[in-house]
């Protein structure tokens, strides 16, 4: 397990409620622990980059979309 998440378990429960998801207390507690992985990944993809750094999902207009 990575370190404890930066938010509280109540905050995590709030994120789930905001998404419209309903889980029991034990389940939420377990998922809260795993949420630390999400935080780690989110921190990892934040790099110093220029404001115009493009994401990978930009697309080329095709006939279908014209």
């Amino acid at each position: 397990m990575p370190p404890k998440p930066s938010i509280t378990e109540d905050d995590f429960a709030c994120l789930m409620r905001r998404a419209g998801l309903t889980f029991g207390a034990a389940q939420l507690a377990e998922m809260y622990g795993a949420y630390a992985y999400v935080e780690q990944m989110a921190a990892s993809v934040r790099r110093q980059r220029t404001i115009d750094s493009e994401p990978a999902q930009v697309f080329v207009v095709t006939k279908e979309a014209e």
Binding site: A19, M31, Y35, V45, A56, E64
Partner: protein, 471 residues
Amino acid sequence: MMAEAPEFLTIAEAARRIKAKALSPVELTRTCLDRIERLDPLINAFISLTGERALAQARTAEKEIMAKGSKGPLHGIPIGLKDIFKTKGIATTAHSRQLIDFVPDADATATERLAAAGSVMMGKLALHEFAFGGPSFDLPWPPARNPWNTERFPAGSSSGTGAAVAAGMVLGGMGSDTGGSIRAPAALCGVAGLKPTYGRVSRHGVLPLAFSLDHVGPMAWTAEDCAIMLQALAGHDPRDPASAHRGVPDYTAELSRSIKGVRIGVIRHFFESDARVSDATLKAIDAALEVLRDLGAVVRPVSLSPLDDWNAAGFLILLTEGYAVHETWLRTRPDQYGELMRDRIALGATVSGADYVQAMRRRRELMVEMDAAMADADILVSASQAGEAPRIDAIPKWRTFEAPSYNMPFNVTGYPAISICCGYGGSGLPLAFQLAARPFEEALLLRVSHAYEKATAWRVRRPTLAVTPPG
């Protein structure tokens, strides 16, 4: 047709015999059905078996071959489909209670193309629920088990396909791969598993996990068999918005050409320091590189960003896109999922829009980085799995996030990658390594893999269970 013992034939060998009218598709199909009847109660590779339909298809194939000759190397060959490929009139469950009664009214493009090539569809194969949650023991069907040792994990998510091919229940099968779901079960089940370039094989009619990472591709006993299947599968499909407008080369024509001078870049830090593989796997990969060197390849190290970086971008994207796919059901009928799928994918609800875009920005940077690395390398080599298959009852719920995937980097870039067996470990279970190529260079990837397989003896061995039935 004259019947010959069709025990453990590759697709290539069976096709040669069928073409020469020395092997009957009906007999070959019966052999596979017998093997399924004997072994599947132990392996659980099949969710639904379509035996009568398969025999009817085999009889049709036999008549066509006798009247007009074989229309190609898949004519009369028994195959299976991971149960997320839509099959008209046949249940397509994604190994989930959510879709237990779902019977599609049309085939996936891959299903259509394999049928058009004359293959015999034996049934629908087990997977991790919706290609993400597994191994699960709380679903309507049990998880597939590894035929080399049924106490062991076959990996996933294309678990049934890997197990069925290894046990000889089918000669080839289809998998899907969002973060390694073809290559991981190929590795642990000791078969060849090809994730083609993103856009090379249509995803139309394949239930999604994460749209921008999903690939579909073949799994078979050898790289040559993967080439045969890819030939039938590849090509533009206007029904898949990611489908590439690219010509399809002849994947088998140059398989036997020398690999002399092919430049191989080894991403050694991925499997030696970023996430160290077992000693046996390390030794097997080094031995495989020696074989490739002996065949004339030029081998040198390549350095990329740490493996964790590729996994962070990949899994953030996977969680976000996967959550969006399942959002409605997670809200309205979460109890219809197994625990692993539900709890893992629900974490996607916590990923912000900005997180997702940053992951996509990181993805572009990583794609540029891999592209640059391939300026001096034709093939990249890494590990495929960390070692032999672990026990199936010892897979942690959050394993996906705890142990970085060696496969995910090539989902992030969309480059073609293949898992190839490179030996057996101390417990007698398969070991594997992974090779990747530039986009749309599957022909080279398959040629190098084929050369390796031909130069080694690993393809001779089959699971003891399949060779010598218990009792």
